[in-house]
Each structure stands twice: as C-alpha cells, then as structure tokens.
Symmetry: C2
Subunit: 440 residues, 2 copies
C-alpha cells in the first residue's frame, strides 16, 4: 500500500526532506512505499536547491490539506498562521500530521491534539525540538514507565554558539552575535533566539510530552542572554561554573518552600544559568543541543546532537514519516481508529505551573560597590536578615573606581532573595547590581 505525502513548505527543512526522500543516504525499504503527491510553496517561479517535478508544486495549500488521495501532511512552513489552520483542516480531513513547527505546537498543541484524537490520526513532532536529536520519541516510547522529574536542556543552538564564543574566545555579546549571523546561525532579527522565545517554545513542548499535560505557553518564564557579559562569564569560570541558556521543566521543584506549592506543580522556565563544570550539560558547546531527562527509576539520560540544520532536521521529519508509514501499513484495517497509544499525545492534565517567586534556587549576583571597608559585612548581614545564606563571596576586580563583589548563595526562594536585594540596593555603599543569574 503506497502512502502519499503532501508537503507544506519548501524552505530549508522542506528542501532537506524532499532531498532525503528522493536520495536517501540509506535506502530503508519502507521508503519505497512513500511518494510525494504535492508540495505547497509560496511561489512557483523561485529557484529551488532541490530537483523536483514542477508538476508537484502548487501555491494552493488548502487544496493539499483537502486532497483525498493524501495520507500524511508534512507541515514545514513554520509560524502560527496559516500553519495552525492548515494542520487543523488536514486533521479534519483524516490526514496524519508530521510537523517541525515548535511555535504552533507550543501554543496550539492542545487544540491540535484534541482534533487529532477525534479524527483518529497521529501528530508527529520529533523535529520540533532538538532538530535531528531523537528526544520526543524516546520520551513517548522508551521512558514511559518512568516518573519524569526534570527535563532540562540546551535547546537553542544560536545562543549556545554565542555563549561558547564568549566563553572560549572572550568575545563580546555583540561580536559573537554578529559572528553567528554571518555564519547563518542567527537571523537578521535575532529576538526569538537571543531573548529565549525559541527555547521557551521547545520547553513548553517537552513539558507537555514528559508530564503528559497541557500548559499555557505564555506562562513559561523566559529570560534571554542579552545581559550575560564577559565579566560574568569570567567570574563564573573562576568559581567553577559555565553559563548556559537552560530550558528547565521540573516537578516538585527541589526546595520549593512555599506551602502553597503542591507536589504536582511544575516549574517551567528559560534563563541563563550557572552550571557546575562537571555537569553533563556544561560541556555542550557551539550550536549543539542536548536534553537531559531525570526520572525514576532511570536516573539521568541525555540526548545530544545537532539542534538545527537542513539535513539533521530532515532526518527527524523523515523518521516521523516512516514511523507513520509503518503504523499505517500494519494497522488493523477493520479498526482504523485504534491508534498506537505510544504515539498519541497524552495531554489530559492541565499542568499547574508554580510562580518564579516560589522557586528555590541558588543565585549568582555581581555588585559594584564603593571601595570602603565593611561592604562585604553589610551584604552578609542584609542577606542573613532575609534568610539568604551565602556559599561564596569573592572580591577580585575593580571597574573604574568601584569594587566588584560576586556572591553565590545557597538555595533560597526568589521572593526572599529579592527582598534582600531591595534592601541592599538602598545601602549607601552599593553602586549597582549589574548581574543576577540563577545557579543550578
């Protein structure tokens, strides 16, 4: 039985997918069952990097999702609309979906999964997180008997490249960003990457998969890397840490003190984080991604690889396609609604997200102070007053006439920490607090 694909979009990932389907580096026999029926594009006249029968191209994307001969719609146009509407219409028409679209899944996942469940079709999204790295499928199919406690990762290659350049070459943020743009790792408008929005999309999806629930993407706390300076990277290095942009979803956040936080609540957030150098994620450099999953009884498992790129992402898209083909071909004909439960997105529960104020974490703070005796004492006393205990206090540098003091705390709730900072800010000896980061 042949399986017919309708592909929406012939950009980077679309081109990679068409290439890989036409000329697979490894000819899996299942590929012989697959054919491309239509490819939806914006313009028919554009020069294409890939050899493709012009007759397959169409600008009528609606026609693809309505075409009764098409079994699987592969959505690779990205963005929210028309992607969302096209996916929903394809589902309504009984088509399975393969998508690499993190934006639409992170925001409209619940709506899309509900519709898919009603229509008895699959929504496959391996390529939406971690590019070519298999992470969605291991979570859904191979870590299923585990209670997942934390999913944490470096899921944005652009920011990881920038931070690696700053760390290894001492580059300034602006120069590392320009470098990333020249290499094609960063867009002309780098906002989605640099401000953590792309990472927030991805951790929202991982949260939904790992904790089998749905969540409001807008409630993911998101902080980008613009405020990470070379100075902080150097201090972190001295203290045994590497600064990474981490996306974190954790159950029962370790040390949540506030009584109101129930055991079933999750903390989901994206922010620059000081990681101990011995941590498995600390050595993930350049554009690589890695996702660390912690659970019971598995312990820690990590998935590492290329988080983006034409070939790698196409590898995930094609794998999703072949997994669907294998299901379509072996499924019971008499019961077309009997979906493989391991490929279905369970999203019944609403995930309860705790607020950042309730989160207990270690902090790194850098102070610029007047160079006068007793400043460290003042800091220590004020922190102590709010129950903030200090792990280390370092004074090494000067910036012009101001002394630079760096503090790393033990676990403290964000609420208490900020109360202490508010009081410290009013002290006469304190000039400013240029940096504030969480420490894992």
């Amino acid at each position: 039985m042949g399986v017919k694909l309708g592909i929406l979009g012939l950009g980077t990932v679309g081109t990679g997918t068409v290439e890989l389907l036409a000329n697979p580096t490894q000819g899996h026999p299942l590929l012989q069952s697959v054919s491309i029926s239509k490819v939806g594009v914006r313009s028919l006249d554009k020069f294409r990097q890939v050899e493709i029968d012009q007759d397959l191209l169409t600008t009528d994307l609606e026609a693809i999702v309505s075409d009764s001969s098409i079994d699987i719609v592969v959505e690779l146009i990205g963005g929210l609309e028309p992607a969302r509407s096209l996916i929903l219409k394809a589902i309504e028409n009984g088509k399975h979906i393969v998508t690499a679209n993190k934006a639409v899944i992170s925001r409209f996942g619940a709506e899309i999964f509900d519709a898919a469940s009603k229509s008895g079709v699959y929504v496959m999204l391996e390529a939406a997180v971690g590019g070519g790295i298999p992470v969605i499928s291991p979570l859904r199919q191979y870590l299923i008997v585990n209670r997942i406690d934390r999913v944490m990762g470096i899921v944005n290659g652009t920011t990881n490249y920038i931070l690696t350049q700053m760390q290894e070459k001492g580059s300034k943020f602006e120069d590392a960003l320009a470098d990333a743009q020249n290499l094609g790792y960063a867009e002309a408008d780098p906002t989605a990457d640099v401000d953590g929005l792309d990472a927030a999309d991805k951790i929202a999806i991982l949260t939904s998969i790992a904790f089998c629930g749905c969540l409001n993407r807008d409630n993911v706390y998101t902080e980008g890397i613009r405020q990470v300076s070379r100075t902080d990277i150097a201090y972190a290095e001295k203290l045994g840490f590497t600064i990474k942009l981490l996306a974190i979803a954790s159950r029962n956040p370790k040390g949540v003190i506030a009584q109101a936080v129930t055991d079933s609540s999750l903390s989901v957030r994206v922010h620059p984080t000081l990681l101990p150098k011995s941590h498995p994620l600390a050595s993930i450099n350049d554009v690589y991604n890695a996702i660390l999953v912690e659970g019971e009884p598995i312990g820690q498992v990590m998935f590492f690889g290329p988080g983006a790129g034409k070939g790698a992402t196409a590898s995930a898209v094609c794998a999703d396609i072949l997994n669907l083909v294998s299901r379509i071909q072996t499924a019971s004909q008499s019961n077309t609604n009997s979906l493989d439960p391991l490929l279905v997105n369970a999203h019944k529960n609403e995930c309860h997200l705790s607020s950042m104020a309730q989160l207990a974490t270690r902090f790194y703070a850098r102070f610029l102070t007047k160079d006068q005796p007793g400043v460290i004492g003042k800091l220590g006393t004020t922190f102590g007053k709010y129950g903030v205990s200090l792990e280390s206090v370092v004074q090494t540098g000067f910036q012009e006439k101001l002394a630079e003091i760096v503090v790393v705390t033990h676990d403290v709730t964000e609420g208490d920490f900020h109360k202490a900072l508010d009081e410290i800010r009013t002290a006469e000896a304190i000039d400013s607090i240029p940096s504030l980061f969480r420490v894992l």
Copy 2:
C-alpha cells in the same frame, strides 16, 4: 485484549522488571493490559526482594516457553545456555521476545532473528546495550534514513568507573578495581568487564543494528584496560587527552590505506583510547555509558545515561514490553505476519570486517630509554623510515635511571607502526615499550 508475560529469571533485572510492572512510578495506561503469567526461577525457596505471588514462580522454564497462553517471553537469565535454547523454543512457539542478554544476542543474533522472522515475532533488545539508555530503538526507528558511518561508545560502566578513579584520584588499577568490586560495580571475577569482553558483545550488537548486518562476534578485536597505568593517564592528561575504553564500529575507516579494504568494510574494535578532552565522550565519567552515532545527514548524536543497574535496565525492558503490547493490540488481526518493519532486525548482509593491520589511526607510545643523547633522534629516524610521522614527542619523566619518552603519531596503519616498533625495540638505547594505545 490482555497480553501475558512469561519472565525467565528473577535476578537483579528480573526483580526490577517485576517491581516496575507491579508498581510503576508512572502508570501508563498500556500497563493495564499486561499481566505476568509465570516467572521462571532456579529455586522456589530463595528469599525475594520483590513481593510476588508464589504461585507464579516455577522452576520449569521449558514450560514457560511452551505455555500457549503466554504472548511475550522476557528472557533475563543471561548467559548463553539455556538462554539461547529457551529463546529459540519460545520463538518457535510464536512468542515475542524481550531480552537483556547481550551475550546470547551478540553470538546467536542471526540465528535468533532468522527464527523470529520465520515465526513472525519480534525480538526486542533495548536493555542489552546501554542499560536504560534508549539507543537500539532510536537507531532502528529514528535514525533510519541516515547512512551510519560510525557508532562509538563507552558501553561498560565498570571499566569507566575504574578509569575515572584512576584519572581523578590517581588510584592504581588494582585499588580502583577493588573499589568497584566493593561498590557492586564489578564482579568477583572481573574478566568480562576488565578485559573488554562485555564491551565487545555490545559493539557487536550495535554494529548489527546500525549497519543492518550480521557479524562474527569473535572477530571483534578486543583489548581491555589492565595495561592502562597511572603514568599513562598522567601523560595523556598533559597532552590534552583522557583515556577511555571505547567500543568502535566504523564504516570506511578514515584513512584505511590498504587497497584491499573495500568501501563496505567495517572496523569493529574495543580498546583503551586516548580521546581529546574536547570530545563529547571524554567527559563521560564513573559508571555512566554513552553512545555516539555519526551519520549522514544527521552529523553526531549521542545517547548518555546509566549503562546498568536494576531500575534503569528494567526501564528499558518494560519499554520494550509496552512497545510490543502496542504493536500486538493495533496489529491487523487478518495478517498476523505483518510485522512493523522498524522493529524487525535487518541482518541480511554479512558485515565484512577489516583487519586491525589495515586500520589507520594515531598512536600513543611510551618508551623507557637509556638517558643518553640522540635517543629522540633515533626514534624519529626509525619512525620516519616506515612513514610514521610524529605529532608530538615529550620527554619529561624518569623511572629509576631510565628516561621516559612519550610519542603521539599522526595517522598510520597499524602494520607500518608495528614494523617501526619492531626495529626500535632492537636499538641499544631502548629499554622497553611499556605502553601502546590508539588515539582518536
């Protein structure tokens, strides 16, 4: 439709599996379809760590694999016999197999897969390599459209623990081994781990899966870690390397010079290897395992996690069980022989393994020489004569009255390198060559 399990063996992994099935940390709905019919044990009287209905226990393992009510046989007794015969009999009787047995699969995989293919049943083996780390399933289901060029990993936790202790604490091999034995990481007879046999079983299985072929397990070149000394670890450190026991299977080995080696040949081997510190596998420490897969177009992906242990391995066994349950329940009733091609072990090709003499690699060699002028010159001249070019030569240490010289070469075939060494050994100034390792 309920699925009935017959479990063979109630040792560490068997106990973990029964525990996890009875009290899953995460109650996947599919688990409700699974029940344990029989558990085969050696003795009925033994104290069990896990609560289990005594009526389920039997010492008659043959009866389990012949029981017509049982759908899946979970083989967790390990070793070659009776595991092989029981698996084959179960397959003959139409039962699907889940196994964690690396020894039997690495040696009798082809026979078992052939039998399974004839009977139309699955053989699932995620737990046989990398404990709880999903690696077999991503290779079979998610990297399928890639041409795999190299699979390389730290697949034995015991030796990795020993090497980590030697590296980080400067322990002697014997002390680190005793330490591993006290912690339960190493057996009283550590041969299988320390001499690389366990790692060779695992790379044989990974080779078969990644390159879709079968191979003779006995042809895997295997060298253990007994000859790794603190001295070499310290020199490696100085030169920017970490010593790891790597299991490697590579296509078209980079730099194979011998004309006779065809493009389709593989190099499959286990040996201590000097890894550049920046390599993703260099920071995998303690009992952790990691498997790095390189392919086209994916690039590099790595799977990291606990390579052994009750809960982690049981996690993989239970995932295999649930993947079978999902296939059994959604499979076409009318066509019971239509297996999901992504779960079937393709092993049609005989893998052609190149000999070690044909392998081109960098080498590390440590020489003890008389402390006289011209020794380094002599070394350099002799190496040059055989086309061995040197990357670095370091003379720093003394052992009693002998000077210690460490050499790292550029890529050279093993054959040429050994010819040079044979001549060097005859030189009057050379006392001995205590260590010789490959460098990645």
